[in-house]
């Protein structure tokens, strides 16, 4: 908890970080309350006074962002779609970093054979083409948000594992680890009490970048038509617009979900960068 407060304090220092944090919080509030604020249900079809379906209506007071081919309200769909984006993004990012951190900690701390084996496995995962692999997994299992989260976690831990391991390798030789050892602390104690707190800042940066990736990937999965057919997400709105072949006549249908993803992910990137610059000035993005 103190870690989270510390994180927010650091990000808050820069203007970009402040604006991004506010945007992110707004998105979370939308994910929680969006469905209650939405004027229509996500799948509800609107009919006009003559009982005709309101197809592809441009934005108006009744439909702030117009309607889809099947007469659904785009504005309401946008409000419903924030939830899956953020649930998938946040859970995937947390899971990814927890797996990656543990692999990195164990690999770096024990070294030797364990390190070799774990890093060979990590290398194989680094070679896996990310999106195609997830599509294959989803093709073979049920398609719902939990399988999407698990499929993404199964691959994304690889980069965190590498970064954390490198950090652990240098931490392992420090004096406070030797000191802990002389007091008779067990390996588990040293890994989780002494080393883990020191790699937390790196892990937090990992969370932000994983979050950004997960949100975009969730949208990509939706766009390719592999997401849960019963859940409206920003990606699936774009997919429907694309699959209907009508998006070229209805820009109001396809613009909002893309812009929403863009704003959310940009904010996440800036939060990550604001934190990174303070925590580790020599570790610039991507490096």
């Amino acid at each position: 908890m103190t870690l989270l407060i510390n994180f927010i304090k650091i990000v808050w220092q820069s203007l970009g970080g402040r604006v991004s944090l506010i945007i992110f919080v707004i998105c979370i509030l939308l994910a929680i309350f969006g469905p209650y604020l939405a004027p229509y249900d996500a799948q509800e079809r609107s009919y006009d006074a003559a009982d005709k379906l309101v197809r592809l209506a441009p934005p108006s007071w009744d439909h702030l962002l117009g309607t889809t081919l099947l007469g659904r309200d785009v504005f309401s769909q946008m409000l419903w779609g924030a939830r899956p984006a953020l649930i998938v993004g946040i859970l995937t990012a947390l899971g990814t970093v927890i797996i990656g951190m543990n692999v990195g900690l164990v690999s770096g701390y024990f070294g030797g054979k364990i390190d070799t084996i774990l890093m060979r496995i990590t290398d194989i995962f680094l070679g896996l083409p990310f999106l195609p692999f997830i599509i294959v997994l989803l093709a073979l299992t049920e398609r719902n948000i939990w399988t999407i989260i698990l499929a993404m976690m199964a691959v994304m831990w690889r980069s965190t594992a590498r970064i954390v391991r490198a950090e652990v390798l240098s931490l392992r030789e420090r004096q406070f680890i030797a000191a802990a050892r002389t007091t008779g602390a067990s390996d588990v104690d040293i890994i989780y009490r002494e080393i883990a707190p020191n790699v937390m800042p790196l892990a937090l940066i990992g969370v932000t970048f994983a979050l950004a990736w997960a949100i975009i990937t969730e949208a990509s999965i939706g766009f390719l038509g592999f997401s849960d057919p019963n859940v409206v997400s920003w990606g699936s709105i774009i997919y429907e617009a694309y699959a209907s072949q009508m998006m070229y006549r209805a820009p109001w249908w396809v613009l909002p979900p893309g812009i929403a993803i863009m704003i959310l992910v940009t904010a996440v990137y800036f939060i990550g960068r604001a934190y990174e610059e303070v925590i580790n000035p020599r570790l610039k993005e991507g490096g």
Binding site: P132, T141, A219, G235, M262
Partner: protein
């Protein structure tokens, strides 16, 4: 050096072997019967049996695996469930199409990213810099398929400048052959996906180059070059930029992997007949031999690309220690 290349090559082979094996067993062991689409349970048991034999599905799993691996060695990917023709027929040419879409845009993006990133960092603190960083981050944050759709919406439909998709105009080349790739029609179709992909790929090297330059500019040798009275341009290109290129070279293999994997969505938007589109279509038809084969080729492209980029990096930076 020779030893290093050999070791990396060996690792690459293991990676590919493990992936192939993983794929094979994933398709056979995960829930859901992938053969259900082709061998309908409604068929007579005898007919089911005959089909199973035709696809080699009646043999024990381990034997199927060895047959599969042996066939792969001869570029035999099995028979498509959908067309009941050899998969290798459908897959021919797809690999090249994907490479032609990914590689040139990638190279263009890296060169542009390096130069623009260096310029912007050189004149740091300008309004232009702030705007460009914001725009690049926003572009990087947008889903690339959505950018593609907007590009089609504006340039192809509104302005009618480019075709809406596909690799050549329908009917132009009834038989895909080499002439196709040298026609202006092909280039015309390539232009829009190329621009969108290059623009999207540009963001990462640009942002990386900028931050790398910012830390280089603070180094002593830049100050020294200034004191020697060297011209600004010379310091920029010869001293600062050269030394800042290293992180770009290090990340190239990783980014190449992303680009190949990401081609799935770009190909779908532009109906570009590459491996990614083939795979997505095959998943839709539950044509598992086709999915498996296209995935493997995408993986090969990624892994081999990474290997080549690693080797190039070794050539670029003689300081690298091979261990």
């Amino acid at each position: 050096m020779g030893q290093f290349i050999f070791k990396r090559f060996w690792h690459m082979c293991i990676t590919l072997f493990v992936m192939t094996t993983l794929m094979f067993f994933m398709f056979r062991l995960l829930p859901g019967d992938p053969t259900a689409t082709v061998i309908s349970p409604a068929l007579y048991p005898k007919a089911q049996e005959a089909l199973r034999q035709q696809f080699g599905l009646d043999k024990p799993l381990l034997e199927q695996y060895f047959v599969y691996m042996k066939n792969l060695a001869f570029f035999d990917f099995g028979i498509s469930f959908h067309t009941t023709r050899p998969v290798s027929e459908a897959i021919q040419g797809r690999l090249l199409n994907t490479i032609l879409l990914v590689l040139p845009s990638m190279i263009a993006a890296y060169i542009m990213g390096a130069f623009v990133g260096a310029m912007v960092a050189w004149r740091r603190g300008s309004k232009f810099e702030t705007i460009l960083v914001l725009v690049a981050t926003a572009l990087q944050s947008a889903p690339v398929f959505w950018l593609g759709m907007l590009a089609i919406l504006y340039f192809s439909i509104q302005l009618d400048m480019f075709p809406v998709g596909h690799i050549v105009s329908p009917g132009m080349f009834p038989e895909a052959n080499w002439d196709m790739y040298f026609s202006t029609d092909f280039l015309h179709h390539l232009a829009l996906p190329f621009i969108v992909n290059a623009l999207y790929q540009f963001c990462f090297p640009f942002l990386l180059m900028r931050s790398s330059m910012l830390s280089t500019i603070g180094e002593d040798y830049i100050e020294l070059a200034r004191m020697k009275g060297l011209r600004e341009n010379r310091i920029l290109y010869r001293h600062a930029m050269r030394n800042s290129l290293l992180p770009l070279a290090t990340t190239l293999p990783m980014i190449l992997g992303w680009a190949v994997a990401g081609s799935v969505v770009i190909e779908t938007v532009f109906s570009w007949p590459g491996l990614g589109l083939l795979m997505v279509e095959a998943v839709g038809r539950a044509d598992y031999p086709m999915v498996q084969a296209s995935f493997l080729l995408i993986a090969v492209l990624t892994v081999v690309g990474t290997f080549v980029a690693d080797m190039l990096y070794g050539l670029l930076d003689p300081r690298i220690v091979y261990n």
